[in-house]
């Protein structure tokens, strides 16, 4: 079970053009709860290519959030290892930071939209106030929230708050961005707008994205690869290469190839 060996469930490993920036090797996470142990992740092996856009889909409770937490070092794997740019997550964290858009709301209610986006720049880079503010305004414009800089989270809609979270995650220029169901609270229209937005942001900078979602069409539209997970124990069921990633064309959602992959994915999820 050494890092280099391609596993049957992971045909894409090593096939990507860029070297893997994240290498997940035999990672298992077990939570001990009062009801007995839960195998949230069981022997996960994955390589994430630098600059790639990878979606993770799977039923609720199959360990998607846990996987992101294990990669960023928020939880320590029970066994196995995670290497980020050839280092442990902890070592990577010493010099670099992961971008993280959490599932649900994690903005500070006592900070305005701009204040929330500024906070990481102060904490991570110690950037002076005026520069922070200027950059926060730029980032909020990037997520189409200009004019809402001084609104508090309670004064924003769910979708707007998620966009603030995205701006906040980008504020400290991460190379790797984790997004945990970032558009869960959005209606279909805004969601599609945000898809093109995310693609634009991803293209504009050297960014590796790990994107958790429940939506097959979202995963197909956005990503190079889709990791399909299955629950109990949380494991990787299949890794799918997307044939036409990021068409940036809504009509692509009805193309033959798109629909075929969609059917393929549904079959995988139901199996």
């Amino acid at each position: 079970m050494n890092a280099g060996s391609a596993r049957p469930l992971d045909p894409a490993l090593g096939k990507a053009a860029a070297p893997p920036v994240i290498e997940i090797d035999g990672v298992s996470v077990r939570f001990d709860s009062a009801q007995g142990p839960v195998d949230a992740l069981s022997d996960i092996n994955l390589g994430i290519a630098a600059g790639s856009f990878t979606s993770i889909i799977g039923r609720s409770g199959c360990g998607k959030s846990t996987l992101l937490r294990a990669i960023t070092g928020l939880i320590r794997p029970t066994s196995g290892s995670v290497q980020v740019q050839g280092q442990s997550s902890a070592d990577y964290q010493r010099t670099r930071r992961f971008g993280f858009v959490f599932q649900g709301d994690s903005l500070f209610p006592w900070k305005t939209a701009a204040g929330n986006v500024e906070m990481p720049m102060e904490v991570v880079q110690g950037m002076p106030r005026a520069a922070r503010r200027k950059r926060a305004e730029e980032l909020l414009r990037l997520v189409r929230l200009d004019g809402f800089e001084d609104h508090y989270p309670a004064q924003l809609s769910g979708g707007m708050r998620q966009r603030v979270s995205i701006a906040r995650a980008l504020s400290y220029e991460p190379e790797i961005l984790m997004m945990d169901e970032p558009f869960g609270a959005l209606d279909e229209f805004t969601r599609r707008e945000m898809h093109d937005e995310v693609i634009r942001i991803w293209r504009s900078r050297p960014l590796t994205v790990l994107f958790v979602t429940h939506s097959l069409s979202e995963a197909l539209y956005l990503s190079d690869r889709i990791v399909v997970m299955a629950p109990r124990p949380g494991r990787v069921k299949a890794v799918i290469e997307v044939e036409t990633p990021r068409p940036l064309d809504p009509s692509a959602r009805t193309s033959a190839a798109y629909l075929r992959q969609m059917t393929e994915l549904e079959a995988l999820l139901d199996a």
Binding site: Q93, F100, G104, L107, F108, W110, K111, V123, A154
Partner: protein
């Protein structure tokens, strides 16, 4: 919703309470006169008002002594409680060692230790401040301990992802999370501090509303008793209002206020 209302609307909102208050005062006034209730039992409101006006200098001087003790005790008790809550946040060992002591202090009836504190600290300001501080201490400690830990788990994870130091996490997150809880406790304990100071004055003090009450009680001077009670109530309301103003200034973000 209340905060957004115009002053006029707020005055209108207070009208029923005001009307009832006036009705009670009028009934009291005329009831006492109608049934010829002796003043040493129940003086009419006008007599109390006259007493308050006539002895205003005496009342204010004693009120000053009481409120000074109450406010000092309130500040010390609250400040110490918040500091200890912060210590508990970062040291489980300190929490395990000290929390039982805090609970023990809470179970002691203050009236019982007031004479003891007078013996130890003399007849001046010190025992009053001590009692007021002890009364304020516990509710604020419990709330501050809770408030400091109410930061959303994912928000804390985000700080961890950023590699934020404890101090940074405290300054950006925990401090604000705790403020609504601390103020909820402070509003209650501000009035309890005044009660604490007065109780301390019962057992031995040279000045203060408490001594006025004790003296008036010996003399069966109900009018003076009422005057002293009303004066301290008004001051307590003013103190509560000041704390509310401070709360408004500190809890500047929407939906910050909690009701405990």
């Amino acid at each position: 919703m209340r905060d957004g209302a115009s002053p006029l609307a707020r005055a209108a909102g207070a009208a029923p309470a005001l009307a009832l208050f006036l009705a009670v005062a009028l009934a009291w006034e005329f009831g006492v006169r109608l049934f010829d209730v002796p003043a040493f039992l129940l003086p009419p409101p006008t007599a109390i008002l006259a007493e308050m006006a006539g002895s205003s200098e005496l009342l204010l001087r004693n009120l000053g002594a009481t409120m000074l003790a109450a406010v000092l005790g309130f500040l010390i008790g609250t400040g110490f409680a918040v500091l200890l809550a912060i210590v508990f946040l970062y040291s489980r060992a300190a929490e395990r060692a000290l929390f039982p002591w805090a609970i023990t202090i809470k179970t002691i009836p203050v009236i019982a230790i007031a004479p003891l504190l007078t013996i130890w600290l003399g007849y001046g300001l010190a025992p009053k401040v001590a009692i007021a501080a002890i009364i304020c201490f516990f509710p604020t400690l419990v709330n501050a301990v809770k408030g400091l830990r109410t930061v959303d788990a994912q928000a804390l994870e985000f700080m961890q992802v950023l590699g934020a130091s404890r101090a940074q996490t405290f300054r950006h997150a925990r401090l604000y999370a705790a403020l609504p809880y601390v103020f909820a406790a402070a509003k209650i304990s501000s009035s309890m501090a005044v009660i604490g100071a007065i109780v301390a004055e019962f057992t031995g003090a040279n000045t203060g509303i408490g001594t006025l009450i004790v003296t008036a009680g010996y003399q069966m001077d109900a009018t003076m008793l009422f005057a002293a009670i009303i004066t301290s109530s008004l001051a307590t309301i003013a103190l509560f209002y000041l704390v509310t103003l401070a709360e408004k200034a500190c809890l500047f973000w929407p939906e910050a206020r909690i009701d405990v």
